[in-house]
């Protein structure tokens, strides 16, 4: 596969949320508003990029039998550092994203990419893989949160676009997350059959 394909596969064909159905827990929890969804996507992409680079560089020295604990330590360290650096140097960004940073530790996509990709590929493809997967996840979160915010709160990025009486509160509550994700998955499965990706 070419570098470009490593990048684009994460966006549609192997989209982590819609095609691999990974990372559904943060995807359901934070998609109550578009701002939150995109923020989580950005923080996630940063950590995935760092962990993919380090794990790809260390792939020949990590013994196979203890690779998972080693990955977990590496990922958790990056998340902790990101959390502290953001809190110290970009307080306004931290205020918006702060609650999502610790959640990234348990994001299974990052461990999944470390195991399935970065531990078997050299650094350049790993970087492209991280960027593509990050973008794919961000787009997926953006899509889910757009439906939920518009239908549930009547706003888009905080701007009122529907009259006050229209929104269905259910959509920003947990059931709305499941309903939206379920409908989107069904729609994408249908499209996939039709166009045979």
């Amino acid at each position: 596969m070419s570098l470009m394909q490593e990048f684009t596969k994460g966006i549609v064909k192997e989209n982590p949320l819609f095609r691999l159905v990974l990372g559904t827990c943060p995807a359901l929890a934070v998609t109550t508003s578009v701002e939150n969804g995109l923020g989580m996507g950005a923080a996630f992409t940063g950590v995935l990029l760092a962990s993919n680079i380090v794990i790809s560089l260390m792939r020949s020295i990590i013994p196979a039998s203890v690779r998972i604990p080693a990955y977990v330590v590496i990922i958790a360290s990056f998340v902790t550092m990101t959390d502290q650096l953001m809190h110290a140097f970009t307080p306004s960004l931290y205020k918006a994203l702060g609650i999502f940073i610790p959640l990234i530790v348990v994001n299974c996509i990052i461990l999944g990419r470390a195991e399935a990709f970065a531990s078997r590929n050299s650094i350049l493809p790993s970087i492209m893989d991280a960027l593509g997967m990050g973008l794919g996840f961000t787009i997926a979160l953006g899509l889910v949160s757009t439906f939920r915010e518009v239908l549930g709160a009547g706003t888009f990025l905080g701007i009122q676009i529907l009259p006050e009486s229209v929104p269905a509160i259910l959509m920003i509550l947990p059931p709305g997350g499941f309903i939206t994700l379920g409908c989107l998955l069904a729609l994408l499965n249908k499209l996939q059959k039709k166009y045979a990706w």
Partner: protein, 194 residues
């Protein structure tokens, strides 16, 4: 056996390097983070009581026994004279603790402003408590009468209109303000009369 030791040592090495990295970042970031938190608190103090030029935490003096709701009593001074009281109160909301600041004026005995500091309420519903539209409903309320939450536009001076579909959150914030109000009247009520 030899394998176990080798693997253990490898993991120890990974953890040690990671620990050093995190430790280094922490040493660098911790003082900055502390400064941010303090600045944020001072900014919030200014929001609920803009008049003073110096705020002192006098919780130990005014809150003898630990209170279930009130956590801090801060006195705001202007040119060395106490002019206002800022309470930090914590109550239980719909999905976790809600921390609020409430500022009272010592001269007029009125609530100057209320600010929701920390909350984890439902986004789009209870989380609206941190918006000025809700917080402004407490402005200039009298401290002597107990505040009530009403689901319809208020008809009496001591009523606070609830956030639509978030009565529990509205009541939790009001409970915190009421606790501060009671303590304020009981402790500083005499100061008002002179």
């Amino acid at each position: 056996m030899g394998d176990i030791i080798k693997l253990g040592l490898f993991l120890m090495l990974v953890a040690a390097v990671a620990g050093l990295g995190v430790g280094y970042v922490n040493i660098m970031a911790a003082p900055l983070i502390e400064k941010q938190i303090l600045e944020e608190k001072i900014r919030s103090f200014k929001e609920v009581y803009p008049e003073g030029d110096n705020v002192k935490n006098e919780t130990a003096k005014y809150l003898g026994v630990p209170d279930p709701i009130l956590k801090e009593v801060n006195i705001s001074y202007r040119s060395g004279i106490p002019v206002g009281v800022i309470y930090l109160a914590q109550t239980k909301g719909y999905s976790g603790a809600i921390t609020i600041l409430a500022g009272f004026d010592l001269v007029s005995g009125k609530i100057i402003a209320v600010k929701v500091l920390i909350q984890t309420e439902t986004p789009g519903l209870g989380a609206k408590a941190k918006e000025p539209a809700f917080q402004n409903r407490y402005k200039e309320k009298d401290s002597v009468t107990e505040l009530e939450v009403s689901k319809t536009p208020p008809t009496r001076e001591n009523q606070i209109q609830a956030i639509t579909a978030s009565t529990i959150t509205s009541k939790a914030v009001t409970k915190g303000v009421n606790a501060a109000r009671e303590h304020f009247v009981a402790t500083f009520g005499a100061a008002k009369q002179k």
